[in-house]
Symmetry: C2
Subunit: 566 residues, 2 copies
């Protein structure tokens, strides 16, 4: 449990700042992440990694010659915002293009994906490779749907070495994808982890038991089993990981990873048995590593990762590197980089706008005010609902995001922005400040909605309805959620459909919105299933039975509040 | 809490073996420790460090060019045996002499000290430097009486660099002592740690509280205080450590050390404030380190260490080194060493012995049999008594030691050894197999007692009494315990005195021993004080009130059992 903390809300950024002070030789702190402090040759492909915080040394500890060029860091266990990803990338772009590497989680896929689109629009050649090594999270035929766990480390090591060797971006991408395709991990957890400032762990594992395949944020695993002696645990890990051994594969990079509260002495005890059993299975171990490489705060447990090597992967696995947590081979010249000023996000500037559109912008600012009020009132209740299935921070994130959006739209209005630009600015601020998946979704929702508006005309009733449909489409396309996945989409889709139908039936926008908000609320409540789904057996999932999705509920609250205001 | 374990009794050696397999490039496993696997120039001074296990990366993780030449590893939190220290030293002796470095704990002082005497007798130039950095453990005017905690790391780093630079042993010793004299640490603990195989922690810290100055094995600290925010904790650590800042000292090596279950993110949060406050106090931070360097299994907590540098210390602090856990600067050529076969302890050989002395040896073997019986019966009870003040392993250690001694004396008798050699062999086996302080004490006790005997004559009654006095003298001299310290001495001294008096009064050996064993038992029971001593405020110490010392009790049990047999 975390004991050293000042303000839990700034824990992740304070930790990153402290890290940067210790390792100033390696990294330079930028807003939302760190970039290499050492000189990088012009034209080198950048390998930029990231994800939520709380996984140290992932990901900031990987930055240095031979490995990553930068790391983006979100809040604890929450994806970094789209703006943060884009900002860090701009600070570590050497003209050779960027490989964005991260574990396969919805929030990261969304934020890194949207950031990649923005950067491409700026002319940067960005490729995305998600790490999908956790065999417990999806069957063998769905390798690319799996979560990323400690495989992050070995895949990023290979990617970094390939980029350092001077390969062009197509080849670095190919090698990185190959590394991921040949990487398999399986883990067990003996106990939960506690978020900074929290008094209770995020989840628990029953005493004397271990959770097989539990994710690094406490996501459900396969099943619970009694804790076994080290030799048997080694057998379980080795046999599970070897199940998907490619035909003829013999040489392997191997990582025995500690999750945070499992001590090195325990990992070494386990390693003796793991190494023997891998050797007995005819595996040649190439420069194996044992230690903490991807952690989950103070979670007890460990995982075994095997990356099957071919000649090319082996060369990059063994190539020298020099990072805060991992050094291999000869050292690099560590000439400090000559820094230009941070490529920070430009303060938004607004084009000319008509008086009518500016009047609509003021009206939209009023709606954002309403959203702040309703979300502030509901913060605790939304947190309570979220805690049944998640980490209980939904209310906090929504309140934070709405506040940032309201401040941004007020600033935009004061700067004379039109409706389209003002709402887009609000969306961007929401995504950047709230972080996580819901922050990215709401940022996207507002920005997409704004694309139905214009800066030279007033917002008409039809624009509002068209904007709703555009927002829904983008949220589904980039967020990847379908109806029935128990997300905000389950309430948003019925809302938009009802809004469109009611308008077609001739109702006024006010009447149509009111009707749609009732449909929306009913749909949100209906996201509470009566029986467990997906065959999940974990206590965490069981507790979610009968509770609605917090994201759907917050959408419905907002819809109703706006109905009362129109 | 330790979850990955096969046999708790072999946990420490299994961890060391696994470590050696991962880091075969750096170290080679020998019985009781590891030695450098890379070539070392002939004539270099060896820096050999060690202590109990459970402190990883202390001490095996420090072995490599630029730092230690070997590390000796005892059982968890228990000193390595004299034989293990001597054996590891013989395997890492390059002809330039040996600096033995370890933290200042009674068991280590005893075992390393006795080993040093043996090695000197073999012609090896051995110097001892104990690390005494914990300001909480003794006042400023008693620096050399303090415990060693995370200061081990910085002092050994300097010692290793000095030796690597080619200094002769006098200078390496001088530099190492200087480093220790200028090193100050202070730590806090938020929670206890649990021994492998145990279900309850060794000690606990009340919820919401932190123990100031608590030792790395749970030894009492100064006081408990409420947990404070990171900024205030930094202030407490910095102010306490700076109290003993030498006049004019400005440049410092600084280490913020995690005790095992305090995560890196927390240490980085704390570091931000520590660095700022040290800078505000006018300290120039030279290559500071933040991380786990000396741990205590899964104890939660951290410590701050400052080593005040002069030109010479700074040079050695910054010198390159390459070990499993710590690399600095350019790398070393890592040519594997050409190994001779392990310099293992020679199997004991016995000189000629008379029939009468061999008969006495058989009689002594019978007494060892009796000791094994009584200690096997009492194992659980001795463990229970020990658990009130210690870690509850006294019964286990005594049983293990007595068994090894019995086996050794039987082997000696079968080889035709006389009484003196047979009992000496029993003592050596006890010390080597039981480990810890009580193992060392009993090994010494038997060996010293044997020095009153001879291999060419039978053991007379007067020899037995004289042997008892010699054993008492050596135990007090080398063990450093005085009457009233609540150790075995509190029972052994009255036993020897009573034995001598009774013999002077004309009683037979059997009668005198019987009388002395009753005195011994009474004295052992009287080691249970009725009120707390030393003003200790920790729950651990409170629990020891009213319970006798386990070492004294086991001595009395043995004395009584022998009385019944004589």
């Amino acid at each position: 449990m975390t004991k050293i903390v000042d303000d839990p809300e700034t824990f992740a950024s304070a930790a990153l700042a402290g890290f940067s002070r210790v390792y100033g030789r390696y990294v330079r702190l930028v807003k939302g992440g760190v970039v290499r402090a050492t000189a990088v040759p012009r034209g080198k492909v950048s390998v930029i990694v990231g994800g939520g915080s709380g996984h140290y040394p992932a990901f900031a500890g990987y930055v240095g010659p031979g490995m990553a060029d930068a790391a983006v860091a979100g809040e604890i266990f929450a994806s970094p915002s789209t703006a943060a990803v884009a900002r860090v990338c701009r600070n570590a772009d050497y003209g050779g293009g960027i490989i964005l590497g991260f574990g396969n989680y919805a929030g990261d896929v969304l934020n890194f994906g949207v950031a990649a689109e923005r950067l491409r629009a700026e002319g940067i050649n960005v490729r995305i490779v998600t790490v999908t090594d956790d065999v417990a999270s999806a069957p063998a035929d769905s390798h690319l749907q799996r979560r990323g766990i400690a495989g992050d480390f070995v895949v990023f090591k290979v990617a970094g070495a390939a980029a350092e060797s001077g390969l062009a971006i197509d080849d670095v991408e190919r090698v990185t994808r190959l590394a991921n395709a040949r990487t398999f991990s399986f883990g067990v957890a003996f106990g939960g982890c506690t978020l900074p400032g929290a008094t209770e762990p995020l989840f628990t594992v029953p005493k004397g038991m271990m959770a097989l395949g539990l994710g690094i944020h406490g996501e459900p695993g396969i099943r619970d089993a009694r804790i076994v002696p080290a030799g048997e645990l080694a057998k379980l890990l080795v046999e599970t990981v070897l199940t998907e051994r490619p035909a003829g594969a013999r040489r392997a990079a191997v990582l025995l990873n500690g999750l945070g509260a499992t001590k090195y002495e325990e990992l070494f005890v386990l390693w003796g048995a793991v190494e023997s059993q891998l050797q007995a299975a005819g595996v040649d171990l190439i420069a194996p590593e044992v230690g903490e490489y991807v952690t989950s705060l103070d979670m007890q447990g460990c995982s075994l990762t095997v990356m099957w090597l071919d000649e090319e992967l082996e060369r990059y696995w063994l190539a020298p590197c020099d990072t805060p947590v991992f050094r291999r081979g000869e050292t690099f010249a560590t000439e400090p980089a000559a820094f230009k000023a941070d490529a920070d996000d430009e303060a938004p500037t607004f084009g000319p706008a008509s008086g009518a559109s500016r009047e609509s912008a003021r009206c939209l600012a009023g709606i954002l005010d309403t959203m702040v009020s309703v979300l502030s009132e509901a913060e605790a209740e939304l947190g309570r609902i979220d805690a049944f299935a998640g980490d209980g921070d939904h209310g906090q994130g929504m309140r934070r995001g709405a506040n940032a959006a309201r401040d941004a739209i007020n600033q935009a209005v004061a700067s004379g922005a039109g409706a389209k630009s003002a709402l887009a600015a609000a969306g961007d601020a929401w995504a950047d400040r709230a972080g996580g998946t819901s922050g990215a979704i709401w940022g996207l929702l507002l920005r997409s909605w704004s694309s139905a508006f214009a800066d030279d005309t007033a917002v008409g009733d039809a624009d509002v309805v068209r904007g709703a449909r555009l927002a829904l489409d983008d949220v589904m396309r980039l967020g990847g959620a379908r109806l029935g996945d128990k997300t905000l989409v389950d309430a948003f889709l019925p809302f938009v459909a009802a809004l469109e139908t009611a308008r077609k039936d001739g109702l006024s926008l006010k009447e149509a919105w009111h009707k749609a908000s009732i449909t929306c609320d009913e749909a949100a409540q209906a996201t509470a299933p009566l029986t467990p789904r997906l065959g999940r057996a974990r206590p965490l999932a069981e507790r979610s039975i009968g509770h609605p999705d917090a994201g759907a509920v917050s959408l419905a609250l907002i819809a109703k509040a706006i109905a009362a205001r129109l």
